[in-house]
Assembly symmetry: C2
Homo-oligomer: 391 residues x 2
């Protein structure tokens, strides 16, 4: 395939295959919000509502409205979810729950901060799409609440004993590096720049371990490496996703050195994470080659492969490094062959090591209307950029 054919494939799959699946099957017309637990054909098999996925779907349709085409029906789908979230999603202090019943009653407490991150993303995009300032204000308020909880994101649900082994996780700085660009239009310039500087330093200087050339999921509070289960854990998909976040920051700031470095790190992660025997990228590995404590370590997950493709496409668009294009083609072939469901549309999420379908669901507690359409949109967009560069 040439670049234009790739671009056409990504765009047409987004518009004619993936979005219709969610438009047709996920809206709860009775109680509001979205069903995300959809089986292979799109039938609802569980009605609980998970805030991460509710927010991500609001974000996705708002983002497409803003960036691709201002289709009224996309805005309506986003606002359908937003109403449900505003009515039911927060406790009195403005913290976002983890999950709700179909009717909107809280099920699981705000025990982590990622519901809040995805809520801020969702309402910032929807504020832009709708022009409704109430949404933008909610996004800003939620973002400031995240910054306030940053040092102790789990609050009373934190299970580690204070002081014995102070540590910090990669997920929050990584998400902040993306979130701050999502909210740029509603935040003060100084806060945007501060947050970008903080997140970039954490990702590139602390969680990236120069001595191994890889990114780990947890480090000691002082930034040093920990030879423990958590400290040795590498999540290649996480690392690759963070690298394209960093590429976007480098691009925005005209920082070519940062972009070059993220491309090199991405190659390291791909070399480390690629399964030489069966193909695909492992979900987890231990940095030092010990057995990881995750039983799902050898599985192949849809988002891991989609983020890897985006890292390589952006790397190619921003640097022209041909090795990015070679990796893109290898990743594209594996990913489209194994994850795309040729029979019922949309994508499988969970494969075993051998590439067979582990769970036939299209959505569940963690997979919703987010990674696949974001990947197709960003992939299409980046392929167009590459095409322009080449002309």
């Amino acid at each position: 395939m040439n670049i234009e054919e790739y671009a056409f494939l990504y765009k047409s799959t987004l518009l004619k295959n993936v979005l219709p699946f969610w438009e047709n099957h996920s809206l709860d017309h009775k109680h509001g919000g979205y069903f995300t637990c959809l089986d292979r054909e799109g039938k609802v098999y569980d009605t609980d509502k998970f805030i991460w996925l509710q927010c991500r779907q609001v974000w996705l349709f708002s983002m497409l409205y803003n960036n691709m085409e201002p289709r009224q029906e996309w805005l309506e789908i986003a606002e359908h979810g937003a109403r449900f979230l505003i009515n039911n999603g927060m406790d009195k202090a403005g913290n976002w729950y983890f999950s709700l019943t179909r009717e909107g009653k809280p099920l699981v407490q705000p025990y982590n901060i990622f519901s809040d991150c995805f809520a801020a993303m969702a309402f910032a995009q929807l504020g832009k799409a709708s022009g409704n300032e109430a949404y933008s204000n909610l996004a800003k308020k939620t973002f400031l609440n995240i910054l306030g909880r940053k040092e102790n994101p789990k609050g009373k649900y934190e299970k580690s004993f204070p002081g014995t082994r102070p540590a910090k996780g990669f997920a929050l700085p990584m998400i902040l590096s993306n979130l701050v660009l999502e909210l740029e239009h509603v935040l003060d310039v100084s806060l945007v720049n501060e947050t970008i500087a903080f997140a970039t330093k954490e990702v590139m200087d602390i969680f990236y371990r120069k001595e191994h050339g890889l990114i780990v999921e947890t480090v000691a509070a002082d930034g040093s490496f920990m030879d423990t289960f958590d400290g040795r854990l590498v999540n290649p998909g996480h690392g690759l996703e963070s690298m394209w976040f960093m590429m976007d920051i480098g691009r925005r700031n005209g920082d070519n050195k940062l972009v070059e470095k993220t491309v090199d790190i991405s190659f390291n992660i791909l070399d480390f994470g690629w399964d030489q025997k069966c193909g695909g990228i492992f979900y987890f590995k231990d940095l030092l080659g010990n057995p990881p404590d995750r039983l799902d370590w050898d599985q192949k997950l849809w988002w891991v492969h989609q983020e890897a493709i985006l890292a390589m496409l952006k790397g190619y668009a921003y640097t022209g490094n041909e090795k990015c294009w070679e990796w893109f083609r290898k990743l594209h072939d594996y990913t489209w062959e194994h994850f795309a469901d040729k029979k019922y549309g949309e994508w499988f999420g969970y494969l075993n090591r051998q590439g067979g379908v582990l769970l036939p669901l299209k959505g569940g507690k963690w997979k919703g209307c987010f990674h696949t359409p974001r990947f197709l949109y960003q992939g299409w967009n980046t392929l167009n950029q590459i095409n322009k560069n080449n002309k």
Copy 2:
């Protein structure tokens, strides 16, 4: 193989293969307690100490001293772990932590009650083995603390929102049904009988769902079925383990009807849990055939198969039902072929669906010196009983 040959295999594997692995590799002579993170050959790859596994190893060596042979070195190994646990394992209120550093500093708070359950088991057996009443008193104190925390075992770490969907889990009543027999010699008769009655009712009338013939992991607080991820989750290994706990209670109380019922339920669980395609028993399944929310659902775990074998051996010893013996032989063949490590001794813990080794470890965060030697001891003992019955 005839019954005597099976019995010999179980006993000799325990004494000459499995126990030496732990005797040689697990003792921390510098800081006390045991290493449990041992690779295939027995090398320590992580030094954190997990209370479940520390307690279970104390229990195992004490139990063998009490029931098999009063070997002084077994008692010494048990007391080696007990000293470390008493010095480091509890908070000021007597709740048991989840994990400690190698040196014994608390790492993870007492966020669940199962550390306490295994501590009570350990110190009750060690009290019996050593004749030291301090151990027995600690066992009793811990047991009473468990009963006091029974209604809210996670305390402040409970993440479910109060009142929306009140629920209860299978693990605690199941463990209590075994624990109470372990502590029978240190508890008042009335408390023993009350606890047995409570646990038996919960297991046999509430978590066993007559309409499906299977045991679920979670039910509503009022005992009704919940059509949710948690409510639909079936853990066949858990179910089978609880069935042999119930067989032992039925046997103790001369309740043949209970024993017969547990044998029937065990057959149902085996029919439901057996992987027709690849052999072995699945780790998790959804009762209604929906995709479970556990990515490790299709894996084959050592303890699941060992508990299944014990259920079938006890079922055969107590009822003579030939179907138990047929299942025993099928399970024995799969389990010994796939889990026993012919090269370095001890047993693999985690296989993929196809029966290949998923993690080459002999011990980790959840696997230690417990299920395999308990299985070999109980298997040997029950095979001897069957042999006597047949004469």
